[in-house]
């Protein structure tokens, strides 16, 4: 989110800040065009600020429960193209990839975990070890996505389901690890790993932004053309 938008959110009251953050979390999981998403959040922040100026609660401005309002927004907003959705999925996968090896390295460094070792910046462990923690990381990331998507559902149930799901994933992978996979060892230099994934993530973000801007610009150009013709 842009810097000025973040600053504007910080100037809101604590209640409205929390409301806006929940709305942003919910809308972020609905595959809206990136430019439209940012404009919508900017509009909502503007509405919240003006409501505070008028001394009106933001709930009165919205006029209905926030979940229904967000669903209305999603129904009436342009969505991401298939290219953007694919890049979004790749981005999540790349984030998992980026984090998993440094986390394992840190765990090995501080806990001296069984089956792994380190020498300088190189982490050495069986492939089964990497697969286990990669699956757990994917479960954590995907679970977080669905928790945010369920912002307007009963949070106790949602968070309990998330924690139980992650624990079950860990237990299952732990049980399978020694039974199913060969103990082929891998060795990874974490500096190279981090550098590679950071570059891939930046390229992914750039490509996604380019597509979103092109789609938004094309729509705007068509509308301006219509006005000029008039």
């Amino acid at each position: 989110m842009r810097k000025e938008l973040r600053q504007a959110i910080r100037r809101l009251s604590a209640t409205n800040r929390k409301t806006l953050r929940n709305m942003a979390a919910y809308l972020a999981t609905r595959h809206l065009n990136e430019i439209v998403y940012e404009e919508t959040i900017s509009d909502l922040v503007g509405m919240a600020q003006e409501s505070e100026q008028r001394g009106q609660p933001f709930s009165e401005v919205v006029g209905m429960d926030f979940g229904a309002f967000c669903r209305d927004l999603v129904a009436n907003s342009p969505r991401q193209t298939w290219g953007e959705q694919l890049l979004e999925i790749m981005r999540s996968v790349l984030w998992c990839g980026l984090c998993i090896v440094p986390v394992l390295y840190a765990l090995e460094l501080f806990l001296n975990m069984d089956r792994s070792s380190h020498a300088g910046l190189v982490l050495a462990a069986p492939v089964a070890f990497l697969i286990k923690y990669t699956v757990v990381a994917v479960a954590l990331v995907l679970g977080r996505f669905y928790v945010r998507r369920a912002t307007y559902k009963p949070q106790r149930i949602v968070l309990t389901a998330y924690l139980v799901g992650c624990m079950l994933t860990f237990i299952t992978m732990d049980a399978l690890q020694s039974k199913l996979w060969l103990s082929v060892e891998f060795r990874i230099n974490i500096a190279v790993w981090i550098g590679m994934f950071v570059v891939l993530l930046l390229l992914c973000d750039l490509a996604k932004r380019l597509i979103a801007t092109t789609v938004a610009y094309r729509q705007s150009k068509n509308k301006n053309k219509q006005i000029d013709e008039e």
């Binding site: 919205v62 219509q226 008039e230």
Partner: protein
């Protein structure tokens, strides 16, 4: 109990287009205009998704302009597609309201 929200939603888009056809304006100003003309039960949250829909279907276009309060504010302008939609809405509204009024009068006369 009569569900007036469906009737409201159906007419609000046309009313919003009418307001925007007069001048370039923004959400809260549209809301104030609607309220002073008898639309008491609506909030900015009701018209904002409608504005997004109108923009998505090409009836209006939005431009960001500086606001004194913080993030830029969206100002909406009607497009030729919007003018055509407005004309269709007005035509349909006159036909519909005429038909409902005639039905009311006829049934009222029959009761009398």
């Amino acid at each position: 109990m009569f569900d007036k929200s469906q009737l409201m939603r159906g007419t609000l888009e046309g009313c919003i287009l009418k307001i925007i056809s007069k001048k370039t304006t923004y959400g809260y100003e549209i809301l104030e205009y609607l309220k002073t003309n008898g639309f008491d039960d609506i909030a900015e949250g009701t018209i904002y998704p409608l504005l997004l829909r109108l923009e998505k279907q090409g009836s209006i276009t939005a431009q960001l302009q500086p606001s004194p309060l913080g993030p830029k504010r969206k100002y909406f302008t009607i497009t030729p597609v919007g003018r055509a939609d407005l004309e269709s809405f007005q035509q349909y509204w006159w036909n519909l309201s005429g038909a409902v009024n005639r039905l009311e009068k006829r049934v009222g006369d029959e009761d009398a």
